[in-house]
């Protein structure tokens, strides 16, 4: 046996041994974490052996960046908050608000400038410390303090806050802020007794341990462990002031690939899957899994760019109308297997704010052709694409992100528009490129695209949005602006008016006007409704979902084996 061969075998053995050791070490280091010991003097149960712990696993295709909502813009972080955190008011399965930490819904003064919240007196953090108005004041302070690089100060920089007593929080605005209900205190409350010392010693909360491991919180479950890339586990909060949760633990398992998520849900490895590709729905139905769709305010739609750099065609209302009538949106929705509805306005998910007399644009390619014909768009060179009066072909660019459903829809739309003689050049970009700033030459910001498609929601369940405000136009001086569309004085005035119209009926009337105006001018064209889609294993019971606070009743969820 040669010397070098011995070395070889030796090396192999060494690696294997170290591997086994590594494996063992990990295994002994990290045993299955039992639910944390009860700190309150709850006597240990004496009767009957403990039942199998009830744990549910939720597939999460994106890993949250942080759990501190002030520092995260991710839906996948925010949606977990109903599990481990508390909101002053939450939303039920009909997206109706109800007071949660409050004795009643907040009261708004007649001029709309003062909003008052009355806290329940029995609410506590999971370590037993009472939650008081001071925590709210502290949270507000932290968010607007420039020492903290929070993701968004909106709308906390609009108001001043005070705490006349431990149970009363008073917010004073300079101008009425009507969409407060869907913008305030959504899972951002911070435990002052934990974080004040951190801020005092470090001068910022940016690196606070609590951001990633909020072991003190106020939801039915409380943070237990987060293994990067793998899962976050929340265990039953033994001190929960709202009752006793039925489950012992909720685990969010990160499954980054859609196909793998589908496989895991079908195999029963996860109890809940979220937002699967629509084409997988039949497979879930066949496997006997429950499918729950819940309006979340999001709609997939076409945004038209009518700034000076856009093609002349898209600025012509006739062309936009023709586009609206050429797209067979009903059959496109059929792609989506009847899970979702077609959509006519940006505000569809909040029916009270949509003019009830509006009718969706009909699918009528013949009428679209006629419309174009009458306006002088004819195909004079016989290439199948119409030209305008100056002989310029009716060629428009359309772009969206690289999500597969959008890529597929692009191809369909391109063909349907070609049938009426409109040439659609389709493009797609990574989201962080598409929405790049004006100074980074982001295609949306610099107006490279005539039509853009993505999914967005107003401030659900409130219709407020500032997309179309003239002040949000991107420019050299204001590179971050996100009104990629145009400045319409009438629309701008209406949007500004709704913001300060305190009376609910009057405000709804303003929105009726907005929705009609946008619909008639085809400023936004709905493609499909984009609700939350949940796939639930039938071994779960008691589950409900809200489009605003997805796990609002997680306390009542149970496992039926």
């Amino acid at each position: 046996m040669s010397f070098k061969r011995t070395i070889w075998i030796g090396l192999l053995l060494l690696t294997m041994i170290s591997l086994v050791l590594a494996g063992c070490a990990r295994a002994t280091e990290e045993p299955v974490a039992p639910p944390p010991e009860d700190t309150e003097p709850a006597p240990p149960p004496t009767e009957a052996p403990p039942a199998e712990p009830k744990i549910i696993t939720i597939a999460w295709t994106q890993e949250p960046d942080t759990l501190n909502q002030a520092y995260s813009a991710m839906w996948y972080s925010w949606a977990t908050t109903a599990v481990w955190h508390c909101w002053p008011w939450q939303y039920d399965e009909n997206n109706e608000p109800y007071p949660h930490m409050l004795t009643e819904m907040p009261t708004v003064s007649a001029d709309g400038l003062v909003i008052t919240m009355n806290l329940r007196d029995d609410i506590t953090w999971s370590d037993g410390t009472p939650i008081t108005a001071d925590d709210f004041v502290f949270t507000h302070e932290m968010i607007i303090n420039p020492a903290n690089a929070v993701d968004s100060t909106y709308p906390y920089d609009y108001f001043e806050i005070s705490a006349p007593d431990a149970q009363t929080v008073v917010m004073t605005f300079e101008e009425p802020f009507t969409p407060w209900m869907s913008n305030l205190w959504q899972g951002v409350l911070k435990p002052k007794h934990v974080l004040q010392p951190v801020f005092d010693s470090e001068g910022t909360l940016d690196e606070a341990e609590w951001n990633l491991a909020p072991t003190v919180s106020c939801g039915p479950f409380v943070f237990d462990e987060w293994e990067s890339g793998s899962f976050i586990r929340f265990v039953k909060n033994e001190n929960y002031w709202g009752g006793e949760p039925k489950l012992d633990a909720v685990v969010f398992q990160f499954v980054p690939d859609d196909a793998a998520q589908t496989a895991a849900a079908l195999a029963g490895d996860v109890d809940i899957a979220f937002w699967p590709p629509y084409e997988d729905i039949p497979a879930f139905r066949d496997a006997g899994l429950n499918i729950v769709t819940q309006a979340s305010g999001y709609n997939e739609g076409w945004y038209f760019n009518m700034r000076e750099m856009a093609s002349p065609g898209v600025k012509d209302l006739v062309v936009r109308k023709a586009i609206a009538m050429s797209l067979d949106r009903a059959s496109n929705t059929a792609i989506r297997l009847g899970v979702v509805k077609p959509v006519k306005t940006f505000f569809d998910a909040i029916p009270a704010f949509v003019d009830p007399t509006l009718e969706p644009w009909p699918y009528d390619p013949e009428a679209a052709k006629q419309l174009l014909e009458d306006a002088g768009y004819v195909d004079s060179d016989g290439d199948g694409i119409r030209e305008d009066l100056d002989g310029n072909p009716l060629t428009l660019t359309q772009g969206n992100t690289t999500k597969e459903e959008r890529l597929n829809y692009q191809a369909v739309a391109q063909q349907q528009l070609l049938e009426v003689g409109i040439d659609l050049q389709i493009l797609s970009y990574d989201a962080d490129i598409l929405f790049g700033s004006f100074s980074d030459a982001g295609p949306a910001a610099i107006g490279d695209l005539d039509i853009m498609q993505w999914s967005d929601a107003p401030a659900f369940p409130d219709p407020d949005t500032d997309y179309w405000l003239c002040s949000e136009m991107p420019s050299e001086e204001y590179p971050w602006g996100y009104n990629y569309f145009f400045c319409d004085e009438t629309l701008d005035a209406l949007f500004k008016k709704q913001l300060v119209t305190v009376d609910a009926d009057e405000r709804a009337a303003v929105f009726h006007e907005i929705s009609r105006y946008m619909h008639e001018n085809v400023y936004w064209l709905g493609i499909w409704e984009d609700p939350d889609v949940w796939i639930v294993n039938p071994r779960l019971s008691g589950y409900l979902f809200s489009g605003v606070t997805p796990f609002f009743n997680i306390m009542d969820w149970d496992v039926v084996e």
Partner: protein, 344 residues
Amino acid sequence: MSRYIARRLLQAIPLLIIISILIFVLLRSSGDPLATMGGRRVTRPDDRARLARVLGLDQPIYMQYIYWLIGNDWVMIDVDGDGVPETQGSRRGVLRGDFGNSLVTRGKSAVEIITERLPNTLMLMIPTEIIILTISLSIGIYSALRQYSILDQVVTAGSFIGYSMPIFFIALASMYLFAVNFRKWGLPYLPTVGMFDPKVGKTTSQIIWHMVLPILSMSVISISGYSRYIRSQMLEVISQDYIRTAYAKGLSERMVLIGHALKNASIPIVTLIGIDIPFLLGGAVVTETIFGWPGMGRLFIDHLSRYDVPVVMGILMLISIAVVISQLLTDLVYGWLDPRIRYD
């Protein structure tokens, strides 16, 4: 010898600087980390401007690189947005061991994020590498000795099919077969995704169980390539005169193989391992994505998708440093294996 090592390490410094400039410029001229920040909607303009200022993303690209390299604790930065720099920078720069804080998981340093994932990746990649090497050595040697035999052709064809398959194909097909369909058919089945079943916990057996499919997929595609390489190295060696001489002396095939051929083929094999080891740190992007394995490959793709420059730079620099070190080690091992090679 130590002078040789020192010289090699010194030479590596400009190399690493070239690499870092290359990647930094590429990354910073791609997307905007603040565009959506992983959310479903575009970031509000005011917040975007404020964060760009606070995180230093509004600086010209060369300044960002300089801050990344040597830190910014020697300058004042403007945090409150009044145009007057008033706060002392706090970054120390890569040269002083600070790779910066992640732009995604803010408040956590890139180094922390990477070291959390490194063990997971090694746990998957080291066994894979061992399996691949063992099997491809056997196949490679076998088909070299029996060149153009029917078995060599079959093994060659088989390995070529593996080599020609995109890995996601094998990964998903095996997942559907062994995890989904086996379960449907009532057979013992393998888990689909993750590193362990959270209901059971992170036990050794769980981890091994979850490793089967990823290792299988990676082995199928890699064994083929490696065995081809080993085959060609062996072929080269056994066509040498001294092997003929050994046969002519009447030595048994086994003796020739072990005593002469394998010994001389070991240098290229060391090269192969030397090339592989640093990339093991990088994990396997596609495999880890499909099987939900919380390793470096997924870390890379997740953070690249949000243009998290500190973390992506950290990962790529870690690999680059590992490449430099492993090349050096490989060369040292050469000298040890083959006395003809000397370094002064």
